[in-house]
């Protein structure tokens, strides 16, 4: 493996687009190879990676489509290299085929998703409409890790973290961003993970280990097919056990003034910034609002959400989708008898003002 000079030394404050941030973060995380296919709004992740990667001994392949991008990423991982891809919208739909295989075979792929309008081609701009697909897509059980970022510092931090989470726990891992984050410019601090005490997990090969197969070492026979119901059941339950065991170490969340909140705003990703702003405004006006932000959508901080929700009098779920996040939230709130109001705006950005207005209206 080519360990060249560090692409980022020390720390530096920069002002760049989200797509560029992801390319730099992947470099900082020692990613070896990116496989990708053009789709707006994540194209620039590829544009930056193709310019930067040769300088650091990393590789790139533009594949013929997203199905191929997903499977080539799997191949790269199996060869023991940190491989990643990026996609959006209809590309994410195609990615579900390879990601199902990654789920079944415990393959640590890292994929950056920049959500755009859906379904189908819709808009190239923005949405939070790929939540269901990214958390539970394909024909699987959702044994995946999904980080929902709310801005550029998150994109940087969690792209790096994704490689560690993926390679440590061996579940396909996703950075769930959106078109606004992809295209906007805002400041963040880039850093060398080592200088912050973050140890990067080393990749390992699934195939191609040294030695003669069968003689020097056991031959690797990797499959995702089973013959009987019982066999499959055992295989799935083993994955489930590993997943449940890893979950407490992976889940992340944030509480914003939820201890004494009457109204609990539940939101994720970039909408969380609007929720935060709303809490600030409402508190100034004497209204006790709080905000619960799940950072991992899979696995979900169910206990923490219930804790925050049980203290509140009512709940407001806000998302740029027609209820994909609401569905998750309701599942985790099962049994808690609190009125739930919603702001559902498929494909449309949401501002703090809107949230404030809704909460004031409801009083």
């Amino acid at each position: 493996m080519f360990m060249s000079d560090k692409p980022i030394k020390g720390e530096k404050r920069v002002f760049m687009t989200g797509n560029e941030v992801c390319a730099w973060a992947a470099l900082a995380a020692d990613a070896d190879i990116m496989y990708g296919y053009p789709i707006t709004p994540q194209n620039e992740v590829m544009h930056y990676w193709t310019r930067l990667s040769p300088k650091h001994g990393r590789k790139f392949l533009q594949t013929e489509d997203e199905i191929s991008a997903g499977f080539t990423t799997i191949g790269g991982v199996m060869a023991g290299r940190k491989s990643f891809s990026a996609t959006a919208g209809p590309g994410n739909t195609l990615f579900q085929e390879p990601m199902s295989m990654a789920e079944m075979m415990r393959i640590p792929t890292v994929v950056i998703i920049m959500q755009r309008g859906g379904p189908s081609t819709a808009t190239v701009i923005y949405s939070q409409q790929e939540v269901t697909m990214t958390t539970f897509g394909g024909n699987g059980e959702g044994f995946r890790v999904v980080y929902s970022t709310s801005g550029h510092q998150d994109l940087y931090d969690y792209t790096i973290k994704s490689f560690n989470t993926a390679w440590k726990y061996k579940f396909p891992t996703f950075v769930l961003g959106d078109g606004y984050q992809a295209k906007m410019r805002e400041p963040l601090t880039m850093y060398d993970p080592a200088e912050r005490g973050i140890e990067m997990v080393k990749p390992f090969p699934y195939v191609g280990k040294p030695g003669m197969p069968g003689t020097d070492r056991p031959t690797e026979y990797l499959r995702n097919t089973y013959n009987t119901e019982a066999e499959l059941y055992d295989a799935i339950m083993e994955i489930a056990r590993d997943y449940e065991k890893a979950a407490p170490e992976i889940i992340e969340w944030e509480n914003v003034q939820t201890d004494d909140a009457d109204t609990l705003i539940v939101a994720h990703g970039i909408v969380s910034r609007a929720a935060r702003g709303a809490v600030e405004t409402l508190r100034k006006d004497g209204i006790k609002a709080g905000h619960f932000r799940p950072i991992t959508l899979r696995p979900f901080a169910e206990e923490e959400l219930r804790k925050a929700a049980s203290k509140a009098k009512n709940i407001l779920v806000v998302e740029s989708s027609y209820g994909q996040f609401l569905k998750l939230v309701k599942e985790y709130l099962y049994g808690l008898d609190k009125p739930i109001d919603t702001i559902l705006r498929p494909g449309v950005g949401i501002t703090a003002e809107e949230i404030v207005a809704r909460i004031k209206e409801g009083r």
Binding site: E20, T40, T123, V124, I125, G179, M184, V271, T351
Partner: protein
Amino acid sequence: MAVKIVLAGEGGQGVQAIANILAEAADAEGKEAIYIPNFGVEQRGGVSIAYVQIDDNKIGSPKFPKADIVVALSGRAITRTARYVDGRTTFVYDSSTVASAEIREEAIGIQGVEADPRSQRQTEVIDDSKGTNFELPKNAGNIVGIPANHIAKNELHPRVFNIMILGAVVKATGVVTVEQVKLAIEAKLGDKFEKNPGLRDLNYRALEKGMSLVERVV
């Protein structure tokens, strides 16, 4: 509270370039800044809009419903940006006739890696001799017409039209210092200035001229 700025014009008028310069200047000054362009399937031919927010504290959503200042540089831009106007908005528009956009070959802007600003080409050719007959937003707090295109053509150079607009925005909002803006321009165009020092002078004059056309409103 963040200052919310909307800049809009035809592709080729350099709207994204100056929005970026403004955001970069604010960032260099240690402020929080967010810049986001509008973008759709048609990367070419639509109205080019840039949203900039500048604040001392961390900024929330990248988009906003109403702006503190809207600058609309073409008839279509006036119509397109009316939705961002309310009683506290200062609406600045180009009062000289809406003319066809100048497309510069050495475009300023995020080159090569992001969508090329030159790809935002105008598809409507509007007759120079007709007056602008687009409706101005009546609900604006303040409407300011500046004969920007006319001035750029006759007193400066069409090439620095957008830098002049930048000057006007800097003066009207007071979000960054002129010095910082000049540094940001230098960072972007420095090597072009090295080849042609007259360009630096032209750009700075355009900046000053733009500042002279408006008052501080935000």
